[in-house]
């Protein structure tokens, strides 16, 4: 059985994926217009400036929306069923897709507080979400 997909970095995203391997999640902040963006691009999607700066996020966010997946898109995900696929709004104002790990799928709800965690895929760590730790 083939494993779950491992992201392949390109020149736009290489810095992002290298940082993930250090358990850091970077977004881009535009020095020209102040816009923050994720996913990484070669330019600011808002003003098209190429003067972008990497910024590390706090790691806190909220569930914007989610689904509990019961039918895998490929055999690699079958063992994980049912799993949560979610859009996470990070505190810094950007949105990313992640799974929500380490929780009962029945507990997930819109507005739920989550924090970042990293899952190993081959030689790459990928960002994931988990419920905010208690205490």
């Amino acid at each position: 059985m083939t494993g779950k997909p491992v992201p392949v970095a390109n020149p736009d995203s290489a810095v992002f994926w290298e940082a993930c391997n250090e358990k850091r999640f970077l977004i881009q902040s535009c020095n020209s217009c102040g816009e923050k963006q994720f996913y990484p691009r070669a330019l600011c999607k808002s003003c098209h400036s190429k003067d972008l700066e990497w910024q590390e996020v706090s790691g806190r966010g909220k569930v914007k929306t989610f689904t509990v997946v019961n039918h895998a898109p490929s055999p690699a995900f079958k063992a994980d069923l049912p799993y949560v696929l979610a859009l996470i709004d990070l505190e810094e104002g950007v949105r990313a897709m992640m799974n929500i790990l380490d929780c009962d799928v029945a507990d997930v709800h819109i507005g739920m507080d989550v924090e970042l965690t990293f899952e190993r895929r081959g030689k790459q760590y990928i960002p994931q979400a988990k419920p905010v730790s208690k205490g």
């Binding site: 996913y39 929306t65 689904t67």
Partner: protein
Amino acid sequence: MKKAIITGAYDTDVGELPGSSCMGLHADAALGAIADAGLNKSDIDGVLCAYSFTEPHLMLSSVFCEYMGLQPKFNAAIVVGGATACIMVMQAASLVESGQCRNVLVVTGDNRLTGMAKGGAVATLAKVGHGQFEHPYGMSVPAAYALVATHYMNEYGVTSEQLASISVTAREHAMMNSKAHRQTPITIEDVLNSRMIASPLHVLDCCLISDGGAAIVVSAADSGGDRPKTSIEIMGTGQGHTHEHIMAAPSLSDFGCKQAARTAFERAGVTAKDIDVAEIYDSFTITLLVELESIGFFERGEAGPACLDGALKIGGRLPCNTHGGLMSYGHSGAAGGMFHVVEAVRQLRHEAEGRQVEDSQLAFVHGDGGILSAHCSLVLGRV
């Protein structure tokens, strides 16, 4: 500017078609549409194709023209997911309106049910997700639409019963159409009890995977010929594009369908209230519900209760997907969207036997590609 009219429309058998091929379905659809228009091969001076899962090619329209022995003056393939069929019609209209072509053949088809391994179409479709930032998380297309559904239900009080009624209505229409892929009666309970794919979407909230092909011919109104059938005018067209990946959608409530429909209505000089019959992309029950409200056929939060009340049935307030739609008539890739166009033509010609919307004069057709990403609307009218 010359007027663009649809002179020919045809779809092949749809469903499980062992022995069919992508190009064979294209050919059957093309021959049917050309004959329906009362034209010959030599009259076709423009060709638009879409895409194929079973015979993918960098230059599908050139492959098709070679297969058919056509040497048109204009030839291109258009690839915008489920919006492709409507965008092809819009492009064909531009070609004849500008005088570049007289008769444009718009042709689609794929054998993605029998021509691929089980699960092959679903896996290929999932690649619509971002390779680095969505695909690694196990996003299927149903799961991506389910993200919209969860949001929409939470925000506007849509219920699973309301979504299910969209699927049941589609099936009721398919049962009036002997060509439809699925004709077994279903109830709301059947939908709710069917296998969950990605909550809140059950398998019966999802479209089919079918083999089939469909084509139309778009002609300049002054191009002459015998025209055995009633011509249908392309009165207005419009597009709207907000994103490709669902993670990057600027809104989870409003999508490009709003802009697409507004432009098409304005160009046609009509409003949503004037439409007699609507054929709207229904890849999932939530797809149709969001589109109906975003386009303006219903106020926010009203489409669900209205559908449960029978508004989308033939004889209802807005007869919708009268052939059975992607959920019950069939879905064969780009041909899925073209089935909606062909059905609109049949309704406007008053030849939709057994499911005819009485005296229909104006039709609205809409296609949605990606995850509510790319949209194109058409307003069609009986000449």
